[in-house]
Amino acid sequence: MANAKVNKVVWAASVVLAAMFIFQGTVANKALRAKVLEQTEQTETVVRWKQSFKALAATRGKWDRSFQRSDAIQDLVGLASHLGLERYGLQTDRDNMHLLKIEQVQQNNLAIGLTRFCLATGSGNGNNFLVAAENYEKLLVGVDRLAKRSDISLGTISLEGDKAFPIAKLGEFCVLLRNG
């Protein structure tokens, strides 16, 4: 008549077994949940990044259209033809064109992959880029069209009237070319 004993052993065993399974299941569940959470967070990071990337698609296109690659232009002659002043009815002293400085464009202290090639004309220490036209009207319309180009930057415009024909002195005149 060890039945009662057997019964108790069976009971104890089943309770212990159930407890073990429940404990192990809970632990495993917790571990897996943590993994799921981690994975989901990573997925969300990717999704967020992709959303940002897509939102910036227009910017990418505009960027590529707005700026010429710098390695496509070999020298000053290339730079001059890239400027294409003739298209705006402007003349300049091509032979005396020189580079004042080359610098990286920073936006909010971040290099944005754009190089500024600043130009000046004339011999000596002239810091201005001089353009000329038949009259003020043509000169300024041409300068206006030039200044509207996003790959051209200019800081100041000065006119000098006591010359044979109207000349505009463009200060801080630079051409912007993208690095890659």
């Binding site: 897996l32 999704v47 990044w49 992959g113």
Partner: protein, 401 residues
């Protein structure tokens, strides 16, 4: 026991008389009870759940708790549909081990209960249970001659005498369904001894599978929980991984070679760079407006025009009287030209000298120029120079909007 539905059975033959559903109290030859676990029951008798024979809820968990091992006649098996069984021995045990206060008064010390079954024309079956402070210490049964037999009285007295010699000082009670035998020193408690009567399910076998069903279910619940907990989480993890690989499998990601937050930052700054309004977008237009405005003045000549003005000519407080400001729109924007605001344009023009004084001519010229260009204008300090024929005015312009 008055209820006709309750039947007392003590032999195999008694069972045959049960035809309709009745409550049956089993005793006599149908039940074999012993305190010894290893005693061999009569052939064919079926083991039942052992009873704990000590007071207290925890009795069944204590190792030294006395137990009553009960076996029932095989004829009882299969009678479940016809009858509900209660066993006499159970009710005596309940009485002896009761914790109820009124019962404890009776069962204090060593107490013996004489119970059993007596019926007309039959041997009398006697069960003797001895309790010590509620714990069963002895259990045995005995057959006595039938009640009418002349040897009965001697047999009954012998039972009492045996109890007395085994347990000196014992209190002896006699319980129903026996009738009161009026033995000396024996108290008849009658049906009080049956107060604890309860139905006892008759099991076919202690080893029946049913015994293990509940523990098995408990274990199974644990296993099911385990599988469920892991399985569900595993599914979630699987779908999370699928979601991730779907998110990653994208041409944009391959193009940039992975998640590059620096790329997004640079792109954002490029966007801001391209969207930021540039002064140069309006500068040539303003220059042209000024040139046109100047052009209407008779005999005028532009000496110099600079946009923006060289930022040296900041107005010094106290000089405002000497350098009056002429506004195009009747002074509406006068307050915009604060002392620390630099001029937007510097204009130097040469004009034929008029009959008026230099300041008056300047005022007139500035007025016409302001109307023509929409700017606020003022003469700079020492802004007038003149020779015999011409005057040269140096003017600062402020562009609004």
């Amino acid at each position: 026991m008055k209820n006709s539905k309750i039947v007392l059975v003590e032999t195999h033959d008694d069972l045959k008389s049960i035809t309709s559903r009745k409550t049956v109290i089993g005793g006599g030859q149908l039940v074999f009870a012993t305190m010894q676990a290893r005693v061999e029951p009569p052939k064919g008798f079926v083991a039942q759940r052992p009873r704990e024979a000590a007071p207290g809820l925890m009795a069944s968990f204590k190792k030294n708790t006395p137990r009553v091992y009960i076996h029932v006649h095989p004829a009882l098996i299969g009678m479940e549909k016809k009858a509900r069984f209660a066993l006499l021995v159970d009710s005596y045990l309940a009485w002896g081990t009761s914790w109820a206060r009124h019962a404890r008064a009776q069962t204090k010390g060593v107490v013996a209960v004489i119970g059993g079954v007596e019926q007309e024309g039959r041997q009398c079956h006697v069960d003797v249970l001895v309790f010590d402070e509620g714990r069963l210490v002895a259990l045995y049964d005995q057959e006595l001659p039938e009640r009418g037999d002349f040897r009965f009285q001697a047999g009954a007295e012998a039972v009492v005498a045996k109890i007395r010699s085994d347990y000196p000082g014992v209190k002896i009670k006699q319980a129903a369904p026996l009738s009161n035998w009026d033995l000396e020193g024996v108290e008849y408690i009658g049906e009080a001894g049956l107060a604890g009567l309860k139905y006892a399910p008759i099991t076919r076998s202690l080893n029946s599978h049913m015994e293990f069903v509940v523990p098995a279910v408990v274990a199974a619940i644990g296993i099911v929980y385990n599988f469920g907990a892991i399985g569900l989480a595993w599914n979630d993890w699987g779908s999370a991984q699928v979601g991730f690989s779907e998110a990653v499998n994208d041409p944009a990601l391959r193009e940039t070679g992975g998640i590059d937050s620096a790329y997004i930052d640079v792109m954002n700054q490029r966007r801001i760079f391209m969207e930021t309004p540039r002064k140069q977008d309006v500068l040539p237009v303003k220059v042209l407006q000024i040139v046109r405005g100047i052009g209407v003045l008779p005999g005028v000549q532009i000496i110099e025009l600079r946009l923006p003005a060289p930022s040296v000519s900041v107005m010094v407080p106290g000089q405002s009287a000497a350098a009056p400001i002429i506004n195009a729109d009747g002074g509406k924007n006068h307050d915009l030209i604060t002392a620390d605001r630099g001029a937007d344009a510097q204009i130097r023009i040469s004009m034929p000298k008029s009959a008026a004084s230099a300041i008056d001519q300047a005022r007139e010229v500035l007025g016409q120029l302001a109307d023509g260009t929409g700017m606020s204008l003022r003469l700079t300090q020492d802004g007038v120079a003149e020779d015999k024929e011409r005057r040269v005015f140096t003017i600062e312009g402020f562009i609004h909007g």
